[in-house]
């Protein structure tokens, strides 16, 4: 019963994040909203695994957490450089490219 309430809470949060992603005036609002949406997806997969009695779902949640992080960084890098293959202008001076994102 409690798990269903928690699922409902997470779903409402996801709906709010999606609303922000749709109306968000700037692209950074959208990225932020999608990041929150991704974190909530990890949580809802974990909770659903418990709700249906299949804890194997946690493996999927782990993978989703990894992909969510890498996806956010990749989108930001793409916006910044318009290209995912290069390390960025600062790489030549010896600074790590993560510094720029």
């Amino acid at each position: 019963m409690m798990l269903i309430a928690v699922t409902a809470g997470i779903l409402i949060t996801m709906a709010l994040a999606l609303l922000r992603a749709v109306v968000g005036p700037t692209i950074y609002d959208r990225i932020l909203a999608v990041n929150v949406f991704g974190t909530k997806t990890v949580l809802i997969i974990a909770v659903l695994g418990f709700l249906t009695g299949r804890p194997d779902f946690l493996d999927i949640a782990i993978i989703y957490a990894l992909i969510n992080f890498i996806g956010t960084i990749a989108v930001l890098k793409f916006i910044r450089y318009g290209n995912l293959s290069q390390a960025g202008p600062r790489a030549a001076t010896g600074n790590p490219p993560e510094d720029d994102i």
Partner: protein, 104 residues
């Protein structure tokens, strides 16, 4: 008896997590500009995710599932500040000025 106490503790943690993620979602809609919305997002990532995952840990008992939940929790805790900092830095780099000291 002991199982019941564990159950209640799990419910408390799950409730706290769900409430804080809801508040974070509301904040994501209500707050006026991008930089302030970042704080709401941080809230759902820390106490929202933490509460729900710790609640599930109490629900599962102590086995491999707990270890996986701890792994997810640690991963979210380490990556969430990195991604918020990246978004903030990208927005700063693009020249968005934060809204300062709203007076109305």
């Amino acid at each position: 008896m002991e199982g019941q106490i564990l159950q209640i503790v799990a419910w408390v943690f799950l409730g706290v997590g769900a409430v804080f993620s809801l508040i974070g979602g509301i904040g994501l809609i209500r707050l006026p500009d991008f930089y302030t919305r970042m704080h709401a997002a941080g809230m759902t990532d820390t106490l929202g995710a933490g509460g729900i995952l710790i609640g599930l840990m109490f629900l599962s008992g102590f086995n491999l599932v707990t270890a996986k939940l701890i792994f997810i929790l640690l991963f979210i805790f380490f990556t969430s500040p990195t991604s918020s900092h990246s978004v903030a830095k990208a927005a700063m780099g693009a020249g968005f000025k934060p809204l300062l000291q709203r007076r109305d």
